[in-house]
């Protein structure tokens, strides 16, 4: 095979991944998040829940250069590939960490495919970005955008923008006379309307553009192709996040099964608990292997990258739903309480499941390649 045997996972990447894991273990994003959630629980009468991320952690990431991890060197970045980016995203998922890095990594790979060195330089300078490419019905594919471009002026609303509240600027897909183009608009040029969502670790929102000036990232007509080329990277990043979260769900559920005693035994003794946990491990491992394979294909065997990325996200979507379901069920009563962290991962996984298409959708696209 054209791919290196070790998934292109070299020592540097290993250190990066361990570093990310350590950082989240120190910063405890969920512990910080919990404090912000107090009083917001009640869906009807709880207080508003503004999007949140730990600015200090973000600054530390920027200090470590993670924001520009995948930015090419000629744009002032580190110039690492998807293997490294997916490795970090996996740790973000494991920590369920709210962070602008998620959107920034996604935007980076789009900008790379658009050869937008100027905007990549912005990223390198520490500008947090997010993708704004989806229409109101949540359809997939660039052509679903409801934003219209008139010359360099954008109007309309971009929907389901992930972590919109954390971004300094947006890469927007817009429809122009000559087709879809990609544009960059700064945060302060637009209005961001936060959605009230289930997932507690993301802040999703709508980006409302009111004829604001935008910088062209990909000319009208090229936008769809650019997004299409970048899609394998986007699919792989989300799948990596799911893989990390699934591993957390597996370990947490296994640990609970070792300590929770019912009928005079730790519940992990009972096959009704033990075997589904094993099935969680099998699902998590299948996804994880497909993620590493997809990241490696992007870096080393681009012709095969789409197939591998579809495989990874298809598997990841199913794993997300399955591990979310079992982790809650096997925790018993405590599993459906607000205070148990499994619910936070449950919601994040259910959300991630649908980003860039669910399992069936990705398998349908995959079938077209077989």
């Amino acid at each position: 095979m054209a791919q290196p045997r070790d998934f292109g996972f070299d020592e540097e990447t290993g250190m990066l991944k361990d570093g990310a894991r350590r950082l989240f273990e120190q910063r405890q994003p969920l512990v910080q998040l919990r404090a912000r959630l107090a009083g917001t629980e009640d869906p009807y009468r709880g207080s508003e829940r503004p999007g949140w991320h730990d600015a200090a952690t973000w600054q530390e990431m920027v200090g470590l250069g993670w924001h520009q991890l995948a930015v090419p060197e000629e744009a002032g970045g580190v110039g690492l590939g998807l293997v490294a980016a997916a490795a970090i995203q996996e740790e973000i998922g494991r920590a369920a960490c709210p962070t602008p890095l998620t959107g920034t990594l996604q935007a980076t790979f789009v900008l790379i495919e658009a050869k937008a060195l100027g905007h990549l330089a912005k990223v390198a300078e520490g500008t947090a970005m997010a993708l704004a490419v989806t229409g109101e019905d949540g359809s997939l594919g660039a052509d679903s955008t409801d934003v219209v471009a008139d010359g360099s002026r954008l109007s309309g609303t971009s929907w389901f923008v992930q972590d919109a509240g954390k971004a300094d600027g947006f890469v927007v897909a817009a429809r122009a006379a000559d087709g879809i183009g990609l544009y960059y608009v700064a945060r302060d040029a637009v209005e961001v309307k936060p959605d009230r969502i289930v997932d507690l670790t993301r802040d999703q929102g709508r980006v409302v553009l009111d004829g604001c000036e935008a910088e062209t990232v990909a000319a009208p007509g090229d936008g769809a192709a650019v997004l299409e080329r970048a899609l394998p990277a986007l699919l792989t990043l989300v799948a990596a996040d799911i893989a990390g979260a699934a591993e957390w769900q597996l370990q947490t559920t296994a640990d609970y099964a070792k300590t929770r005693v019912q009928f005079d035994r730790p519940i992990g003794f009972f096959q009704a608990v033990k075997h589904p946990i094993v099935d969680m491990m099998i699902a998590a491992d299948e996804t994880r292997s497909l993620v590493y394979n997809a990241a490696c294909a992007w870096d080393h065997d681009r012709d095969d990258a789409v197939r591998c990325a579809r495989l990874a996200k298809a598997s990841a979507s199913d794993t997300a739903a399955f591990c979310a379901n079992r982790s809650t069920q096997l925790h018993g009563g405590i599993g459906f309480t607000w205070e148990a962290d499994v619910q936070i991962y449950h919601k994040r996984q259910m959300h991630s499941q649908f980003l860039f298409g669910d399992g069936a959708w990705n398998r349908q696209r995959l079938a077209e390649l077989l």
Binding site: R45, D137, V198, T328
Partner: protein
Amino acid sequence: MAEKTSSAEQYEFRDYCRRWLEENRPPPTETPLPQAAYEVTYADHRRYLCDWQAKCYEAQLIATDVAKEYGGHGHSNFQAIASAEVRRARVPYFINWIGLGMTAPTLLVHGTEEQKRRFLPPIFTAEEIWCQGFSEPGAGSDLVSLSTAAVKDGDNWVVNGSKVWTSLGALASWMLLLARTDRHDKYNGITYFLAPMDQPGVTVRPIHKMTGEAGFNEVFLENVIIPDHYRVDAVGAGWKVAMSTLTSERGAAAGVGAVASSESPLTAVLKVIELARRTRRNGVAVWDDPVWRERIVKLYERTEAAMQNGRRARIEALNGGAMRLPLQGKLVGSEIGQELGAVALGILGLRSSLYVGDEHAEEDGHWALAYMNSYTGTISGGSSEIQRNILGERVLGLPKTK
């Protein structure tokens, strides 16, 4: 509809119920009511629901067949009709469902004359809300291992311990309490009490579920005093009494008119089909995506099967034993409900992220709530794992796991 072919006055009563319910349907609440009665927490919801139950009691839709001396209306074979009409009318649920569904049937069977006269009337009128104190933090699926202790002190019992998953705990003035009166006898060391909640030793702490709703509570009992005449049946008979209500719950409920008038599973599936028809993604209705349609129709198939199971359960020649199908109901119903929630989210895709209060959320987040609340169904009241043990052991005669 009534079980047996209806006599003339049963028809008349049915028409009366139907008419009354049409004419007295209450206006919707400002904040929508929770999907299930055990979620109620707000004072305004409480007032609204208590008034509604009292009104239904006045109208003889509740306690229809209960004797007059206990506050009932003294009819016979009318309750099933009233309950069916209430269910049919899709009016709000009765807030005192534990009182109607568990306390009343228990007292009618095991209660003293004094207890029946004292407790039944305010249950029917919702003047006294009841909650249930069975589960404990350390004893979930393994209910019988409960450790809350009741110690005799003169004519009173002094209770110390804590209970969990107590629905309506914050609104109730009385609790059905299981407490240990003998630590050396697991099954015969449990006694059944009627515990007054309005005393200093009782602390109620709401438990927020993953939905954010706070219907469940943790109840801490510190030197709580219960007069001995509030004990139900003999000391040590608690487990027997509890089982008799738990198992006869549905049947008993009909006897006093506790009906969760929530929508039928089939209605829910048809709503999912409608959702799939009107939800368009990538230019096509989800219903026209064969992969999703297959999953939805499988759900429809299993729901219809569950309904037909209920029909077959009543036919001795075909039900394979009296308990075989009824014992499947909770497991199958709750797992179908969970799949239904998951399918609905799948149909909505990205849009399933929009939750209660979001102006663009589908049905104000109904499906996300339904999905998350479905875990209450598969976990509480005997988890699916426990249900499979029960079915394997009681119905198929397989060796007991424990």
